[in-house]
């Protein structure tokens, strides 16, 4: 074992290999659609449209890091969005009050998940799966099974204002991601959370606040999912409550893909953001090249499978690899 070189320098290959793939992907589309794909306009609009998925995928990180999983993010996102839209557009509350209430709801959901998963000890994958469906139902009830329209443009204006031709929502999402990167890489809380994810019992007997950390993580996940919901309301201006469920799998695809890179084996914010943009680049490119819709699904699926497989193989080849 080459013990002199630190892990960090070894294995650059499989930690950032995806970036190389990304570059190739970019080049290919630039060749196939030279005058539409590699244009500022296209790329800025590409980025501007990723805020929601970025936030939703990042939302998964806190729970995944601590070794839990939250399948209710789509539901949390929906209920927050519905609350906010309904209170503002229908009940006539100020948009900011509505947003506050929406986020409070999200936090409450996170607390319930945490209570069941951490205090009671139900497997989080199960309890959150149920919770997700339950929340969709509640959202439909809240919205009275109607499509909500007429949300105050104030929110949209805030989120859609272009800065360097990219909307503020995108910067918001990236900002969140960077903050998370700092927390998980450089703070006690973050490092503790990661360790807990590796072996909760050892962490507990070493005095780490396992339960508290997990509870906070569930709440953080819920709040971020809620934030994604609010961005949806903002950039759409209206909402059809049942329409957000289809974002669940893409969010997980990105989060999982992200956990295979940068810090392989641990869900991490930077990897997640890269994954989201990597996948979005592909979709955008395919549209411009003008291929059939089904190819997008194939690409999306294949991208995840291949990327993860490659990074796994590289990891095994790398000197630090284990039997």
């Amino acid at each position: 074992m080459d013990n002199s070189t630190p892990l960090a320098w070894r294995s650059l290959g499989y930690r950032y290999g995806i970036v190389a793939v990304w570059v190739v992907e970019f080049a290919v589309f630039a060749l196939l659609a030279p005058d539409t794909f590699p244009t500022t306009a296209n790329l800025t609009s590409l980025l501007s449209s990723q805020a929601v998925l970025l936030l939703l995928a990042l939302a998964l990180v806190p729970t995944l890091v601590t070794g839990e999983i939250d399948l209710s993010i789509a539901g949390t996102m929906t209920v927050t969005a519905t609350m906010t839209a309904q209170l503002n557009a229908v009940q006539g509350l100020s948009i900011w009050t509505a947003v506050a209430v929406g986020l409070a709801t999200a936090a409450a959901v996170g607390l319930v998940n945490a209570f069941l998963a951490v205090r009671i000890g139900v497997e989080s994958i199960i309890v959150t799966l149920g919770m997700g469906t339950l929340l969709i139902g509640l959202s439909v009830w809240i919205s009275d099974s109607l499509t909500i329209s007429g949300v105050s443009p104030a929110l949209g204006d805030l989120l859609n204002t272009p800065v360097l031709r990219v909307n503020t929502a995108f910067y918001l999402a990236i900002g969140v991601g960077v903050a998370m990167w700092f927390v998980y890489r450089h703070t006690v809380f973050g490092r503790g959370a990661v360790f807990i994810g590796k072996n909760a019992e050892v962490a507990r007997l070493s005095g780490l606040p396992v339960a508290r950390t997990k509870v906070l993580s569930f709440v953080a996940t819920a709040l971020l999912a809620g934030a994604a919901g609010i961005v949806v309301v903002g950039i759409a201006g209206g909402l059809q409550p049942t329409s957000l469920q289809t974002l669940l799998l893409p969010a997980f695809a990105a989060a999982f893909l992200g956990s295979a890179i940068v810090e392989p084996g641990t869900s991490n914010p930077v990897g997640t953001m890269i994954a989201v943009l990597f996948l979005a680049t592909g979709i955008s490119g395919l549209v411009l090249v003008g291929l059939d819709a089904w190819i997008r699904d194939v690409f999306y699926g294949a991208a995840v499978v291949v990327a993860v497989t490659v990074s796994r193989i590289a990891a095994m080849a790398a000197p630090s690899g284990r039997a």
């Binding site: 449209s49 099974s145 499509t147 443009p153 903002g234 469920q245 549209v287 003008g290």
Partner: protein, 357 residues
């Protein structure tokens, strides 16, 4: 809403208007259009962004194919973008269209309110956005920010379904109507159906059940069979759209009810084939997707040419049942060229005359 069974003993009667309406709509459609001719020569080479709510939806896919053909005929090229069933991806598609300086954007499926903000952005960029196959344009005013709208006549399809049932049952039917509450069109269809039944059939009863899109595969079956058990007198089941029959028909069999007649809407090829085979589907209100696509194309061209758009135009519909389904040529080509309605290529010819090259 269901209505009273008060005089359910008496034998029903069939109002003349119903018989008339059914007979009228059984016959082939006359291709007609109120729009004036205008010059499209300047539009050659323009690009239209077609945003579909969900690429996996065959109904929308067919519109897409026809739209590409229609616009292609005047040298306008179409780029397809998949909204993947959620407002985020749909919004992304519209943004991309704007970024690519598309000359017009056609959004088929999503309700305009769910992309209102994107409309603002398009307006800033001076790109017209048109809505299609979303809300019943005969009853819904143009959403602010839209340059135009088209749709199938959701209301009418509902009424025709009602008429067929009233006539078939001799004015005495117990009906189960299945909607997708999260698809507004299906609700318009159901409301019109109920109103029509109310007016034309005092001895009929109606119960309505909703199953959201995401639960079709899991719930349509049990919902249907349970309702049939709950009210054994039901002999007509009306799924708002024909793809629902994939789940309702088996349930009807499983409920051991081969006396139940299914009447549905859309007229996708496979379900017309079912109808001909004599499956539970006994009547179908078909929508001329070729015409619908040409109407969309026409609105798009007008918008791009700076002409005023017509905001209440809808696709022609036709009732199919055993009396006329036999005459149809049931294959993929016919499904896309309007053969079943105003005749093969009718829309193409009609609009070729209106679009001055």
């Amino acid at each position: 809403g269901a209505q009273s069974q008060a005089d359910s003993g008496s034998t029903g009667s069939v109002p003349a208007e119903v018989t008339a309406s059914v007979t009228a709509h059984r016959g082939p459609v006359q291709a007609s259009y109120t729009g004036s001719a205008f010059d499209v020569s300047g539009l050659r080479g323009k690009r239209v962004w077609w945003v579909t709510q969900y690429a996996g939806n065959p109904f929308l896919a067919s519109i897409g194919r026809n739209l590409t053909e229609a616009l292609g005929s005047v040298g306008v090229e179409v780029t397809t973008c998949d909204g993947k069933g959620n407002p985020v991806d749909a919004g992304a598609c519209i943004r991309q269209g704007i970024a690519q300086h598309a000359d017009a954007i056609q959004v088929d499926g999503p309700e305009p309110t769910t992309y209102g903000e994107s409309l603002a952005a398009a307006a800033k960029a001076g790109i017209p956005v048109l809505s299609g196959a979303a809300v019943d344009v005969t009853t819904t005013p143009l959403f602010s920010g839209l340059a135009g709208q088209t749709s199938q006549p959701f209301g009418l399809t509902g009424e025709l379904a009602a008429d067929w049932i009233v006539q078939d049952s001799g004015g005495k039917a117990d009906v189960l109507f299945l909607t997708a509450p999260d698809v507004v069109g299906s609700v318009s269809e159901q409301k019109a159906f109920a109103a029509r039944l109310d007016r034309t059939c005092p001895d009929c009863s109606l119960s309505v059940k909703g199953v959201t899109l995401a639960n079709w595969a899991n719930d349509l079956g049990p919902t249907t069979s349970s309702e049939l058990v709950k009210n054994p007198r039901i002999t007509y089941v009306v799924p708002a759209f024909d793809p629902m029959t994939q789940f309702t028909d088996p349930a009807i069999l499983q409920a051991g009810r081969n006396d139940v007649k299914v009447v549905t809407v859309n007229g996708n090829l496979p379900f017309l084939q079912e109808l001909r085979k004599g499956s539970p589907i006994k009547a179908m209100v078909g929508i001329d997707l070729d015409a619908l696509a040409y109407l969309e194309a026409d609105q798009l061209l007008r918008a791009m040419a700076g002409q005023p758009t017509l905001t209440k135009v809808v696709a022609p519909v036709r009732i199919f049942d055993k009396t006329n389904v036999g005459d149809l040529k049931l294959d993929g080509k016919a499904a896309d060229d309007g053969s079943w309605y105003a005749g093969s290529g009718a829309s193409a010819d009609l609009f070729a005359r209106l679009w001055k090259r």
